[in-house]
Amino acid sequence: MLDVQAIRKDFDILGREMRGKPLVYLDNAATTQKPRVVIEALVEYYQNYNANIHRGIYYLSELATEKYEHVREKTARFIGAPDPATIIFTRNATEAINLVAYAWGRQYIEPGDEIVLTEMEHHSNLVPWQLLAQEKGARLRHIGITEDGRLALDDLDEIITERTKLLSITRMSNVLGTINPVKPLIDRAHAKGAVCLIDGAQGVPHLPTRVLELDCDFLAFSAHKMLGPTGVGVLYGKREWLERMPPFLGGGDMISRVWLDRATWNKLPWKYEAGTPNIADVIAFGAALDYLEQIGMEAVQAHERELTAYALEQLSRVPGIRIFGPRHVEHRGGVISFDLEGIHPHDIGQLLDAEGVAIRAGHHCCQPLMERLDVSATARASFYIYNTEEEVDRLVAAVRKVERVFSRAVS
């Protein structure tokens, strides 16, 4: 089990107040807080060896290059990728997905091809494929969802077919908390000859991830959702694809030789990293990975599951509440979307804010899913390694108070 109290001491922000009450931070699906070691890594970089990397022939630049590239190795190890050259640093998960849509998609998608997504995807795993499909005359298909927010797998044979060129799905829903059975879906799509991208923005921070076992062709995720700084995303790709695909962004560092009218490309992974990278934040992301590795992703998942089970139980007793997503905690991660009858989620969020409880209210970048659930928004609490049962109690008490304030008004 996690020593949550010890962990909390590493996060100064968790000791602060919001609106005069101790902060309860439950918006981890949007972004997590950062432990002191991550912040210190930034400071150390800027104070001691800030320099542009690659090709710098002085000490600071050599050191910065070594540290930057070392994080690539750490990242590879974290997701079980044997080859660091298959790790590309981007700005965020969104850019990682777009990279595939541009570089792979523009090359391999043809009119009439089908791209399979789900109804629970984040806009970042919908819009890039819409743009691609419109440009190429391809067709989007969507795996539906069941009443309790799981993927509807019944008519899969009609959706994943010989025409499927790409399956791109989320490992875990950022609204429903649903953990999807990505492995069998990947196997099925591979059997039809399709390529598989996993949106790991929610999966990688919360679940152990082994890309070789998943056998996904691409995996995208964001550092800022797993204790790392903002401004760093990761794309893992199978070497064969990364070798075959054309580059995405052109510019410094991604080239081998350049003439006025043409150029040849650098080796992996640099072929896909154009211009000065986000050196400082990548290095700080390394500290986040170390931190998570030390805790162990199994322990992270176990802690969140326990907290989620407790929260589901406590929340379900609040009058008028509706909780979305899978009923059983085995099928979900630490994300709970809910609403209260007759109360707009934004009003819930506002009232919780006054209690020092930070949750998110809105469509969570999943408008089609909102449509499917027939709501305009939900209130969402999401957990991470530093959250406690006491914080869940504070959430539940605050939600009960919202309910009371608003029911007064009906009378």
Binding site: H344, A377, V405, F406
Partner: protein, 150 residues
């Protein structure tokens, strides 16, 4: 939730729960759609005019307590008013909720609308309070495109 009392005043909670004029006017001669891109909430506004004067007004849509109450109370305040009077009222209301001007509670033109003064402390919610008003202006100008609050 002491600090929040200013935002969620009883009268706002009441109008939020039981909005007045919450209906489509089948014989509307002006109408407009507004949406708040921040939350995706939408409002449809229907007007009947007699020359310069608003003779009837209704709205539909979904939104938070603030936007629903604002729409509800707006419809009550503007019925019987001329375009020019509505525009003046909007200006005062906008100043009130953005905090650009200190309107003493009960400022005569605003009447009950002064209950929205608390919004000024919550920048994001200013858009909720003003969404119905932007939509009303669009209806008066017979805009075809949905308006949004930014």
């Amino acid at each position: 939730m002491s600090d929040l009392r200013d935002l969620y005043q009883e009268v706002i909670l009441d109008h939020g729960k039981n909005p007045r004029n919450f209906r489509k006017l089948e014989d509307a001669d002006h109408q407009a759609e507004g949406n708040n891109p921040l939350c995706g909430d939408r409002i449809n506004l229907y007007l009947k005019m007699d020359g310069e004067v608003i003779t009837d007004i209704g709205f539909q849509g979904r939104g938070c307590a603030i936007s629903t109450a604002s729409a509800s109370m707006m419809t009550e305040s503007v019925k019987g008013k001329t375009r020019a009077e509505v525009e003046a009222l909007f200006q005062r209301f906008h100043e009130l909720v953005t905090g650009e001007a200190e309107a003493p509670p009960g400022a005569p033109e605003l009447g009950k609308l002064t209950v929205f003064a608390g919004v000024r402390d919550y920048p994001i919610r200013v858009k909720c309070a003003t969404l119905p008003w932007h939509t009303l202006r669009a209806a008066l100008e017979e805009k075809r495109e949905p308006v949004s609050t930014e």
